[in-house]
Symmetry: C2
Subunit: 338 residues, 2 copies
Amino acid sequence: MSQQNSDRIEMPAPQDPQHLPIRQQMEALIRRKQAEITKGLESLDTAKFTADSWTRGNDGGGGTSMVIQNGETFEKGGVNVSVVYGQLSPAAVSAMKHDHKNLKLVEDPSTGSPQAEGVKFFACGLSMVIHPHNPHAPTTHLNYRYFETWNPDGTPQAWWFGGGADLTPSYLYEEDAELFHKNHKDALDKHDKSLYPRFKKWCDEYFYITHRGETRGIGGIFFDDYDEKDPQEILKMVEDCFDAFLPSYLPIVAKRKDTPYTPEQKKWQAIRRGRYVEFNLIYDRGTQFGLRTPGSRVESILMSLPEHASWLYNHHPEPGSEEEKLIKVTTKPREWVH
Amino acid sequence: MSQQNSDRIEMPAPQDPQHLPIRQQMEALIRRKQAEITKGLESLDTAKFTADSWTRGNDGGGGTSMVIQNGETFEKGGVNVSVVYGQLSPAAVSAMKHDHKNLKLVEDPSTGSPQAEGVKFFACGLSMVIHPHNPHAPTTHLNYRYFETWNPDGTPQAWWFGGGADLTPSYLYEEDAELFHKNHKDALDKHDKSLYPRFKKWCDEYFYITHRGETRGIGGIFFDDYDEKDPQEILKMVEDCFDAFLPSYLPIVAKRKDTPYTPEQKKWQAIRRGRYVEFNLIYDRGTQFGLRTPGSRVESILMSLPEHASWLYNHHPEPGSEEEKLIKVTTKPREWVH
């Protein structure tokens, strides 16, 4: 499959033909992880994921969405792989330069203006959101992606990795937050002990609902535009982060999925999922960019939205309640591992 | 109340002291209409609206939100009046100039740069969204607002009116769409026969969910940055549009509120309300601007969101169904009166 893609797209030959280029290794990794993660999640549900493949029409690439809906454990979720490539227009490059410092428009030497054909790119990633039924079991989000551009003559221009994983509970269980953060810290520590504190903070800052003064959940790790090490080493770091996910999430869901709950707790979950919708539709850069890109696949982008969300006017939890305890941790992020 | 406001804010004296300035007439109009409209809606419910007043803290102004929640007829709704005034920063003026051609930064004659203190403004409006329980009864939105700026020396700079009213059904009843449009056309025709076709088209274009290729509902009227006639005449036009609302909406709700419905129809309503959330959070300029303005009141801005919204992956109604009939009218807006 990845070989087919690489035949269709006119990409530069790898610098060292004995090794597959990073983009192909990353594509293979995300396809393997899509299978592993969906299988892992299915072990906690009687329902199965179903595959929905799509192509970009006239543009290059496509993807496979693995979707679960109305399972016994999982109310709604998706694990989406996409591999896309083609031309970035000068306008798109300008829009992306703000976040990605190495991205450049190639100048036409005869005129000094940006070349009209823009920049060739390749992007692939795995993106996942899982919303369990039980209000005591947290929503989770994971996304790892790789982006690369090259010049018309085939020389490389810019590349970076981005992504992370985070947890969004409706009720706070400190041991769950600790497990999730600890596993991801361990994965990053193998590569560089400075990464976890940095990526943990980045996550709290990125998943912030400014108008509410709340983080979306209890965080995790997040990084973007990351090219500070050898790409092969970063790829290994991304693989280790991937590997940290199932042992971070499955034990939590296994422990919480059959916890008894009240209709009021289910309502609170829907209110929290309303906040999730607010973040994703108003602030999330991937969603904003995707929905404004002609030819992008709306269903895959909005796969992250919960089945149920609710808004009540001026709703505030009772002082001292479990609901208020959750609000407090989103208004003042904590350190979960030391 | 409006006299008090006018004492606190240092506004220029009216040009003709024998008449109240437009801003005071508009404020009086929206307060009167808030009372009328909430009373009209209460006639169809056993629940009552409750008032929630707020002030802008250190900034000038405030408002009153009239809210109904979990009534027998109305699931959630609000009729919000706000009257705010103060200084627009040069950055805010620049951001608003795109939509409002007469807005100007005053230059400091000695430097030629914009004056650092920006521009004094006054804004008032009534904003309403009503979501009935019954999936056969449509959601409605109405908003009329007035904006004015003046120079430090008290001379007027720019002013405009904006607003409109529109209908968002989950099921299409052509007679409802016709009634709503006909009444608003009649109100506008009294002033200028060219207005309804223009404002109807503007409404279809403004309430458009680009990534879905759908209008939010079946439209109505919308205008913005409107200062083409004498302000006193536009104020009368706004009043006539206000007067068109209750006779357009109450008969529809009275007719639909007790229509039997199935759980599937209620689910469809939640899916359509998901689209409503998408429009308001992603595209609506008032919401976007409000949520990004420090000190704005989040609860009043998000009052428009429904109690329940739902997202299913890749959901498409059955061909030939009533649900598909609704989708068709949102993908190709129709003319409802001739």
